[in-house]
Symmetry: C2
Subunit: 341 residues, 2 copies
Amino acid sequence: MSTLTIALDIMGGDHGPPVILDATLKAIRTHSDCQFILCGNQDIISPAIAQLNDAERQRVSVSHCEQVVDMGEPPTSALRNKKQSSMRRILDLVDSGEASACVSAGNTGALLTLAYYQLKTLAGVDRPALVSAMPTASNHKVFLLDLGANVNCTSEILFQYGVMGSVLAQQVEGIESPRVALLNVGEEDIKGNPQVKHADQMFKNAPGINYIGYVEGDQIFTDKADVVVTDGFTGNVALKSSEGLAKLVVHEVRRQSQRNIFTRILGKIALPLLKSIYNRMNPDQYNGASLIGLRGTVIKSHGNASSDAFYYAINQAIQEAQMQVPDKIRTKIETVLLEQL
Amino acid sequence: MSTLTIALDIMGGDHGPPVILDATLKAIRTHSDCQFILCGNQDIISPAIAQLNDAERQRVSVSHCEQVVDMGEPPTSALRNKKQSSMRRILDLVDSGEASACVSAGNTGALLTLAYYQLKTLAGVDRPALVSAMPTASNHKVFLLDLGANVNCTSEILFQYGVMGSVLAQQVEGIESPRVALLNVGEEDIKGNPQVKHADQMFKNAPGINYIGYVEGDQIFTDKADVVVTDGFTGNVALKSSEGLAKLVVHEVRRQSQRNIFTRILGKIALPLLKSIYNRMNPDQYNGASLIGLRGTVIKSHGNASSDAFYYAINQAIQEAQMQVPDKIRTKIETVLLEQL
C-alpha cells in the first residue's frame, strides 16, 4: 500500500489549536507509514512540531493559512470570504490529490458547504451525507445517516444513502453483507411519509443491498441493522436527542448519588463504570463523523472534541483512505444503478 | 366542580384486561369524586368489579362491547369494522358528553384514527397531536409534540401545536407562561426546512405565545423549554431513540456489572438507584400520551403499560378533564388567530 497523506485543520474546534496539535503529534508518532500536512497558522504549528524527532518531522509539512473559519460563521460567508482558511486548504489538498483524506473539528455547516462545493459528489450521488457509528446492545456498531447534511431528502437520496452506508459498514467494520434499514415511525408497510415509502420500494428492488425494511427509533440501538437511513433533519434529532438523554442519565446519577452518605460512596465507586458507559453512549463526542458521497475522504471531528477524540478521528480518516471508501462507493452506486436498468 | 365521568377501554394493551382492570379498581377507589364507565367484555369485567364495595360500585357502570380492536389491526380496518369495539365505545361516550375523558392502552394508530373521525378537531385546529411529558435535568418536565399523529406537518400545523402545547403545559403543570420552542437541527435562523422556518416566523408574530426560538435534539432534556414542537415523524423518532438509548444504558450497566464479583455486588447495590432513574428516563412507558386538539380528552397509555402506568394515565385523564383542556385550547386558538388578523 502506498504512503497516505492526511491533511489536518489545526485551527478548528471549540478548544483551539493546542488540543488539536496534541492529537496530531500523537497521530504522527503512531502512524509512521503516513505523511501529514498541518494546515493553519505556522506561528502556532511550528513550536508544536519542534517536539518531533527528525524522522517524524520528515513526514510532516506545514501549509500556512492566513484565515480561520469561525465556529459560528455562516457557511455562505465561509464559502465566499475564507478562501485562505485552514478548513478550505485541507479540502483543496484532497481535491488536488496531494492528500488522501482530511480531518477538521471546525464549524460543521461550513465544512459541509465547502466540501460539497470543493470536492463535488461522486457520479450517481445527489448529495453527501454525514454518518457516524452509534453503539448497539451487542457491543456492535450501527451506522446512522444522514446526521444533518441535508434536511430535505427525496426517496432517491435516501436510497443513495443506503448504498453509501452499506459500503462504509462493509469497508470499515468488515461486515460482508450489511443489513440496511429505513428509519420510520412504525414497522408496518402502511406507515411513514411518501419519501420513506418510495425509498422502501427502491430498496426492495435493489438486489445488491441487504435491505431488511423499517426500524423505529428505539431499534437503532438494538443491533437489528448495521446501517440506518433517514433524512438529515430526523437523523440529527435522533443523534442529538439520544446524546441529550445520555447526558441526563449521568446528571441524574450524580444528583441521586448526592442524597446521602451511602449513595455518595456508591456514586464514587460506580463512577468509572458509568464513565465507560457514558463514553460508549455519547458517540457524537467520541467518534468522528464521515462525510461520504464526495470525491474524497472528509472526517468531521466533534467541535467539542478532546485530544483523544481528534486522534480517533485521524485514525478514522486513515482507515477510510486505506480502504478507498470513495472509490468503493462510486463502484457500488454504478453497479446498483446498472442493475436497476 | 361537578362529578367527572371517565370512560375506560378495558380490552386494550399488550398484557390484556387483568392489568388494565387492576389499575381501574385502584382508580375507582382513589377517585371517590369520579364516575367510571368500563367498556369491554362484561364477562371479564363483572368478576373484577365484584371486588368493589357497594359505595364504589355505585360510581361504576359497564358498557358491554362485542368487539376488540387488535393491537396489530390497520386503523382503516378498525374504523370500518370495529364499530362495536371498546375503543370505539369510549370515544362515542366522550362524543355524546356521557364521559368527560377516556383512556386506552390499545393500538395507537387505530386510536388516533378513530378519535380523529369520531371526535373531530376543535375549530382552528387542522390535526390533533400526540403529546407526552419528558423528563428534564432540573427535575422539571417538557411537553414534546407531535409524537406521531401526523408525519407530514405544514408550518400552520406546527404553529397550532405550539399553541396547544402551551395551553397543556399551563393547565397541567401550572406554568404561567410556558416557554415554547421549535425543534431544529441548529439554533441559527438560517437552518432548518421551509416548514420549520415559516413556523418560526408565525411564532415570532404571535404575541400570546412565549416563543423562545429553536432548540436542538439534546436541548429537549435541558429544561430550556416547557414545550418543544416538531412534526410527528421527527417527534416519534426523538421519543423512541431516546427511549432506546435509555434501554441501552440499563443493558450496558447489567452487562458491565457481570464482569467480576466486585462489579456484581456493585450492580446489585446500584439497582434501585438505576431503576428509579430508568423510570424517569423512559417516559413513553410511564406517562400516558395526550391526544390534544380534539373536542374531548383522550389519553393513550403505552401498549406495554403496567398496572401503575395505566393508573397514572387515568389520573392524567381526570386532571385534563378537570382543567377542561379542550375548552382552554379552543379559546387560546381563537385568541391567537384573532390577534393575527
